[in-house]
């Protein structure tokens, strides 16, 4: 990456062009035959862009852009965290992405286990975990979280003959099936989806075609610069207003219809999709990615007997019962609806996973100041 090329970035951060897109969005939302219009994105990076650039204050009042289950750390289910914590307490060395450390399990997070003496390493990539295994004789378990984008990286390592003392505890998730769940939720008012550009770079836009057919809901693939997000929403409103749901690609500089075929082959050679719970959401058929039999020797679940029962004799504290992460991830509540947000629950003292991960809605809202109405502020002396 060239850190010194400001032009590459400015092209997609031009406030003038943003103004044009904003006017188009105003017009399209106004033209809709009802109000408000609700759309959903399923990606923490989209929420980051929206919050960081203050886009919500620029969206039309009658457009609701809701963040869905787009944070892989947040949807990692409690029993999955428990498995990692139990292994760590059994004395097995665990490597994981930093965000996973503080995600609460039934009674402990990996960070809690580490504070009690367990051996837990933060890594920035799966290859770092493999290096760790090469440097040491002991067993290294990589607690793998992330959607298909990250799962491909895990797959690439597993087909490349990692050392025998390396194994993967997969909590990888697959996004397309959860969109079906959200579309079928009775409370949902979602009229269209903004799909994540980086995931679609791998899966291709075609992966959403059947979904559109089944649910009659449009999907527009969008990138992560502010202009990408604005352009994606303009395109999505156009399709919603047309009454002819279809898949549109608003991120053509990276995404093709067929996607990265090599990466897809790699993904499905190593992983199979299986049903499982997503934290706070539901049981998602085909929503979990687990290792295929051919890779059994690298599968932590088959290599170790994991006994998490010791973690279960525990009643969750009252605060946890008030946590609204599940509803927030399903898009039926916002952090502003949560009694704990910004009070008992902060990045420093997180109650739910959404306040832990850099991709969690609550963490993002907290970091960027939430969503106050800033439209009416007058400049100049009083």
């Amino acid at each position: 990456m060239n850190l010194n090329d400001p032009l590459a970035q400015l092209k997609f951060r031009d406030p003038e062009r943003a103004r044009g897109l904003r006017e188009a969005l105003d017009r399209l939302v106004h033209q809709a035959d009802h109000a408000p219009v609700s759309v959903m994105h399923v990606c923490g990076s989209h929420e980051q862009a929206i919050a960081k650039f203050g886009l919500r204050a620029a969206f039309p009042l009658d457009l609701q852009v809701i963040m869905g289950p787009g944070c892989p750390v947040c949807v990692t289910d409690v029993p999955e965290v428990d498995e990692a914590v139990a292994l760590a307490r059994q004395g097995v060395r665990i490597a994981s992405y930093g965000d996973m450390l503080r995600v609460p399990g039934t009674s402990q997070s990996l960070a809690d286990a580490k504070a009690e003496g367990a051996n837990v390493d933060v890594v920035y990539s799966v290859t770092q975990a493999v290096e760790l295994a090469r440097e040491h004789d002991e067993e290294i378990v990589f607690f793998a979280s992330g959607f298909e984008t990250t799962a491909v990286a895990t797959a690439a390592v597993l087909v490349d003959d990692p050392p025998d003392n390396f194994s993967v505890l997969s909590a990888h998730k697959y996004i397309p099936p959860v969109m079906e769940i959200v579309a079928e939720m009775p409370e949902t008012k979602i009229e269209g989806f903004l799909a994540a550009g980086h995931a679609a770079t791998i899966t291709g836009s075609a992966v959403f075609e059947k979904f559109v057919e089944r649910h009659r809901l449009p999907v527009v693939i969008a990138g992560f610069e502010p202009l990408d997000v604005m352009a994606g929403l303009v395109k999505l409103m156009e399709v919603i207003n047309s009454g002819e749901p279809r898949v549109e690609n608003a991120f053509p500089r990276c995404v093709t219809r067929e996607g990265n075929v090599h990466a897809q082959k790699l993904l499905w050679r190593v992983f199979r999709a299986t049903g499982g719970r997503w934290r706070g959401i539901a049981h998602v058929p085909n929503g979990n990615l687990r290792l295929r039999d051919e890779f059994a020797k690298y599968d932590t679940r088959r290599r170790f007997t994991i006994d998490a029962s010791a973690l279960w004799s525990y009643a969750p504290p009252k605060l946890v019962q008030q946590c609204q992460c599940g509803d927030i991830m399903a898009g039926i509540a916002s952090p502003a609806d949560c009694q704990l947000f910004g009070k008992e629950c902060t990045p420093d003292t997180p109650v739910g996973a959404c306040m832990v991960s850099a991709e969690g809605t609550c963490k993002i809202w907290h970091q960027y100041g939430g969503r106050p109405d800033l439209r009416s502020i007058k400049r100049g002396a009083a």
């Binding site: 850190l3 203050g54 970091q367 100041g369 002396a381 009083a382």
Partner: protein, 345 residues
């Protein structure tokens, strides 16, 4: 300051040292209780950059600062240069731009290399010379291995001034000026973390800037109504403090804030906003609108102020809040909270 009332933890954790709301709450609730009143001047309760005591027709300004940074030598400076610059700048932020003298206390960990100490003191001497001051007394302590991390320096400075500048004189319509690029020190330190394996040319901006401040005060006179150095917590913490103390809202034009391209890029890579990252050679000015252009020109004519810019203005709405106009929309600028990162100053 009811927003800070929630900081009542039974144990003092790292978040109380990040220069944000938690630290201000601790000072209010513990340190300033029954202490620090100054009859004619500025005392502890004001939580300004230093104190001021009236002596005849002048004020004696006192500022103190402890310095802990990892690594102790970093691109663009070291803990010694940081300790001298930090205290000289704190004095200047009160309007006292001619440091009479400094003290320096060193707490050293058992086993600390003598060569390192000699290098750091060479840097201290050079920075004192640059700032036109010297160290007139000090103190030395050595603590056991593991009882502290390498070296802690505390410096105190004294200076006289006939006019004090507080950090709380803002009213709606006033302009906000920064004297240069934001976030350089904080991100230069972050980028040295080994595990990130970043190769950058980022450098800390650590420098004494009292002569720059003097130039601005000479031109702006009574029109300079607030002054603060955006150290820990960066521009965001400095503006929050100014907005809270003056009961104004502050709107910042993000596109006007000077940022080095590399700082912007590394910040995005690490997920750290340069506006909450520390600076060690910069100041934030609050200016009456009529003096803003003149002060800007004066600061830009100083070698350390070439990138200075007017970045925002004060409003009557939303007192105590800082609003960021991103050019695409707007949002509240949040303060840094929690400390997951190595110590930086």
């Amino acid at each position: 300051m009811t927003r800070n009332a929630r900081f009542v933890d039974e144990r003092i954790t790292l978040k109380y040292g990040t220069g944000g709301g938690a630290m201000r709450a601790l000072i209010e609730q513990v340190f300033a209780k029954g202490l620090g009143d100054v009859e004619d001047g500025i005392g502890l309760g004001a939580m300004d950059d230093g104190a001021a005591i009236r002596i005849g027709d002048q004020y004696l300004v006192i500022a103190t600062d402890s310095h802990v940074v990892q690594p102790i030598e970093f691109p663009g400076g070291d803990i010694g240069r940081l300790a001298i610059s930090g205290t000289v700048n704190d004095l200047a932020m009160m309007g006292a731009t001619e440091p009479l003298a400094l003290t320096c206390a060193a707490i050293i960990e058992d086993g600390f290399p003598r060569d390192d100490l000699v290098r750091i003191w060479a840097s201290i001497r050079a920075t004192c010379e640059e700032a036109g001051t010297t160290i007139v007394t000090g103190d030395t302590k050595v603590m056991g291995h593991g009882e502290l991390d390498g070296l802690v320096l505390n410096t105190t400075g004294v200076a006289l001034t006939s006019r004090l500048v507080s950090d709380s004189g803002l009213r709606p319509g006033d302009r906000i000026l920064v004297t240069g690029t934001m976030g350089d020190h904080g991100l230069a330190i972050m980028a040295t973390r080994n595990e990130l394996a970043l190769e950058t040319t980022l450098e800390s901006d650590v420098a004494p800037i009292h002569t720059l401040v003097r130039r601005a005060l000479d031109v702006g006179g009574e029109g300079v109504v607030a002054l603060k150095d955006p150290t820990r917590g960066g521009l965001s913490s400095a503006l929050h403090e100014m907005a809270e103390k003056s009961s104004v809202g502050i709107i910042v034009d993000e596109t006007a804030v000077p940022l080095r391209d590399e700082v912007r890029a590394v910040g995005e890579l690490l997920g750290i906003d340069p506006l909450v990252s520390a600076n060690e050679g910069k100041a934030v000015f609050g200016l009456r609108p009529e003096v803003a252009a003149g002060v800007l020109d004066a600061i830009r004519s100083h070698p350390l102020g070439r990138n200075a810019a007017i970045v925002g203005e004060c409003v009557a709405d939303r007192p105590g809040f800082v609003i960021l106009d991103t050019g695409f929309g707007s949002r509240l600028l949040a303060e840094a909270e929690g400390e997951l990162l190595p110590r930086i100053c």
